[in-house]
Symmetry: D2
Subunit: 348 residues, 4 copies
Amino acid sequence: MIFSSDNWAGAHPVIAESLVKAASGYASAYGTSDLDKKVEKTLSEIFERDVAVFFVATGTAANSLALSSANRPGGHVFCHREAHVNVDECGAPEFFSHGSRMTPVDGSLGKIDPVKLEAEIRRFPPGFVHGGQPMAITMTQATEAGTVYSLDEIDVIAHIARKFKLPLHMDGARFANALVTLDVTPAEMTWKRGIDLLSFGGTKNGCWCAEALILFDTAKASQMHYLRKRSGQLFSKSRFIAAQFDAYLAGGLWLDLARHANGMANRLAEGIEASNGARLAWPSGSNELFVILKKDTAKKLEEGGAVFYDWPVPYTLAGSIAADEGLYRLVTSFATSREDVEQFIAAC
Amino acid sequence: MIFSSDNWAGAHPVIAESLVKAASGYASAYGTSDLDKKVEKTLSEIFERDVAVFFVATGTAANSLALSSANRPGGHVFCHREAHVNVDECGAPEFFSHGSRMTPVDGSLGKIDPVKLEAEIRRFPPGFVHGGQPMAITMTQATEAGTVYSLDEIDVIAHIARKFKLPLHMDGARFANALVTLDVTPAEMTWKRGIDLLSFGGTKNGCWCAEALILFDTAKASQMHYLRKRSGQLFSKSRFIAAQFDAYLAGGLWLDLARHANGMANRLAEGIEASNGARLAWPSGSNELFVILKKDTAKKLEEGGAVFYDWPVPYTLAGSIAADEGLYRLVTSFATSREDVEQFIAAC
Amino acid sequence: MIFSSDNWAGAHPVIAESLVKAASGYASAYGTSDLDKKVEKTLSEIFERDVAVFFVATGTAANSLALSSANRPGGHVFCHREAHVNVDECGAPEFFSHGSRMTPVDGSLGKIDPVKLEAEIRRFPPGFVHGGQPMAITMTQATEAGTVYSLDEIDVIAHIARKFKLPLHMDGARFANALVTLDVTPAEMTWKRGIDLLSFGGTKNGCWCAEALILFDTAKASQMHYLRKRSGQLFSKSRFIAAQFDAYLAGGLWLDLARHANGMANRLAEGIEASNGARLAWPSGSNELFVILKKDTAKKLEEGGAVFYDWPVPYTLAGSIAADEGLYRLVTSFATSREDVEQFIAAC
Amino acid sequence: MIFSSDNWAGAHPVIAESLVKAASGYASAYGTSDLDKKVEKTLSEIFERDVAVFFVATGTAANSLALSSANRPGGHVFCHREAHVNVDECGAPEFFSHGSRMTPVDGSLGKIDPVKLEAEIRRFPPGFVHGGQPMAITMTQATEAGTVYSLDEIDVIAHIARKFKLPLHMDGARFANALVTLDVTPAEMTWKRGIDLLSFGGTKNGCWCAEALILFDTAKASQMHYLRKRSGQLFSKSRFIAAQFDAYLAGGLWLDLARHANGMANRLAEGIEASNGARLAWPSGSNELFVILKKDTAKKLEEGGAVFYDWPVPYTLAGSIAADEGLYRLVTSFATSREDVEQFIAAC
């Protein structure tokens, strides 16, 4: 009953086999092989336009490179207060962009409040050098709270980005999970809304290590090649990433894996809502659930073999959690089995 | 007849299979899994002391993180003029260390000339702020010229490092190739000589993507954890690197692969020396050969299917290459077949 | 009636004359002249211990260099939410320390709340790389709210710094103003409390351009020399700073100037409290007052020739300011005349 | 007999007096005062076009900010091997531009050899990420060797800059000295030739501290405001720089001071050439002379009160200096007296 994180799973067998198949033979290095090009072409088809694709080692690298491409001295990147770039990347975005600042914006359910976003941006009017200047906006889809921005909600953020002429980045570490929830196309959830750069994550959804930074404006690609290389993120045997994505994207495997993970989370949510001892802290839309349990119950579940994380209680929940209760995060993945889910529900 | 680079090969079947085996099941993330720990233990055994091991995405990242751990304002890193950090990393070492400088030192056969090294270091006496200050020395083993420092030669460089209290880094992108040439232990070629930090490369010798930064002083590890994470180099599913190293190191596979690559290079060298149309530019000791061919011959070889790179003629060769000749680099790997080698020799 | 900022004044005549006197003759450059050394000695006497003194161009530079000397990857600098480093330096501290983060701590009256400070530091436990790590604490004396930390209050912050082994920096842009308010010695307000680094400002108190970074641990000076030079902050004709400080410190001029500025602020405060149309937002202790005025009154004052700034209303004042009122900042300086003060009071 | 450096002098009396005059009264801060604007206007007149002017603390800051405005990842700044940015700024240019590289180009007499410059640039073809990419060219006028580029020579460098679409920076620490030697207008020596950014130095020519970065393309100014503030280079009482420049530029004082310094150097040169014991290493065109003396003679001169620096012998002089001779640098300034010059000549 491993619900700690989707990155505790290994790799899907089809993806692992793709690596074995690609292991023999020679191919040119540094992202120039046929397989690299094939994946770039597949992604262009999936996104319904030419895209520039940059494989990198981690989501942190994808996010940080994306934001650094928008770099300005004294720059502010506006993000949700709980965004991965703000709380979980050890200053990588600041490092990659030489000291820019992650400026947090509040909002319920893990989503940036657009009114607060605009107010924050207006704190830094053009030419007033003391406070620095706006530089980019980044949003996370699915969010760190397990929720999913609707297309309309993305539109609102994108409108603000255009108004202030700021590039808009989407951290898609769980892109597939959000996509199958909304049941829209990748294009509809990204550039058709106004997303300029996308961290397209495969690792949490069944790959070993497959992260891509996708630029919808291919004219921006020439400098990104240098930014990536300079950060030690250009793989020599780049096709080992390509081989994973090749299998991941073929025949819609990536969507199937996300549907499975989301389905397991939905089943967990149903079971928890139906139980006496647990309830959801808020409704989710992806493969992450945030659950309120009695601390005793949590302890018993852990003793019974369940693995999951305590989670800091956000101020928005203050008052709705009893002293003997805690907040816990449950994450499902492509590898989550129905048996584990049912066992967990039974134990609640 | 692919002799372009050892990073054009894929992965050894045993290593690819190890990835498949590790793909199922769960493991804790970010380098904390049992498999990660097992590899760290194996490396401590191989190096005959406790070492701190940091998996990273690329050799560039390993080198740059190593040097950044020695960071000083206005710092000079002394390296061979042809070192990878100096000519092939797009400023990554400077970026990771916020603007330090790679200060090149000359030396024949790809090796730092110790007299020139000391003279360069002395250009920056303590307290004279205008010129900056020494910060680290890095040497490459095997070198970019395909040669190998002897233990005595490493001793001389290490002596200078100690004299000026500078940390000494070894770029071991082709560590195994050098090791089997010298026929010494990993400890003898590194910390017993005075090496403080080692970029331990597996990618060029049969892995997909397996690079480790090894610190011989484990007290320095605590800050390296932050440096690595901050640069987007901390893999979530870190065990996919561990699985590769696990197979790579087991039963001495890594040494066997290096012996094969070196053996193929040696056979190539013999064949070339015995031929009329080609000669070695200088003796090699690893899996890289630098060969002088008539340009016509090179062209015919390429038309016959051989793949290899033109190489810039170093000033040390000026005068010994005719106008109708060129310098070419041939690299063998674990995957190089005897047939390809013999075919190339026959074609010379 | 210029109350906009203490940096709108020019230089005190004695200080300007000191520059004229130093203008002739030769002196060695880059901080090595006799006059430079004399000032360093004077400061050591004033602080009752050997100190290392670094002249720099601006308070921003002094603060940023101080914090960068404590640099750690993923580092957090804990500061008051309204601190100059956090809101008025365009990312300079982040730039100088290559991407560290200013982590704001709340507290009333411009002072760091020690309980909240400790809670913030504990959010980043050792070894948990994702969130980064504590790196330094900085406090401002006098604060941006015009208030002054008592010696006991400094002790509490210093105790926390020692507990977490963090260097403690004091931004003393208005150091003299705080000192004369507390009526203690410079040593008592700094290193005897546990301050490690001090930005010692002279510009706002009667100099043209005289800022010094003071290190109480002189062993840390050797690297600061390089940090300063690397940031373009090492003056060639450094004695032009020394000449200002020489006059500034001689015979306690600096304290007299601060007493004058504070006295003018006190008189303003009295007058405002006694008036019908204005009141203090909170009690001050230095040369900055924050005043609540009817917007109409403010407008009339401005039309009458008074110059001062609107100030953003902090959340702590919400509810205590009427809709037709505003918050305004008044700053006095060495140059403020009693006439201007009385005229302003009369106009209230 | 102080010939050590032009930064050993103090300030010209007229400039010191200007500071005294500006000391009283109030003026808005951070470069917005009337006096700041007046100097910007004067410089626009002197350069015969609208220019954007940024006062900074040091020439190092001006150079580093100029180059950082052209920043590119993995960027190479091409400069003369002996350029101040390359040998005397403790890595400031690399720091300001987050790890760019100063790539030295050889050339006799302190001037970049255009053929070598083009060859160096071509080493980094577009898209080949491993080596990095060209980013800017910087030239020094007058050069570090005391020589002066002719207008034609500047044209050739500018032509290469345009060909490779690289911004061209001029380090004018001794701009005035070069200008009066060529006897041309400031416009003719800069933007009419193709210079994009200029470090306009006043400190070495009679000011206390007066350095300006001048942008000929004023559209680039908006980001420079943030770059300057972020580096701690925005003075609050900025008018103290303006007051110096105001006096410096008025009535051509700056040109008179440079003519005096150059005249003293010329007289020194004549005297040295006519002497038996000394000769010029190469002809100069500014206020710096490089002189070959018997080491005994040098010692005697020093014992007689002359102050000057030993200088490293460049490889271009190898063979033309005897074992008992040394190379020495003599620098004159606005403050150099004819008596000192004649006394030195007599002592030769």
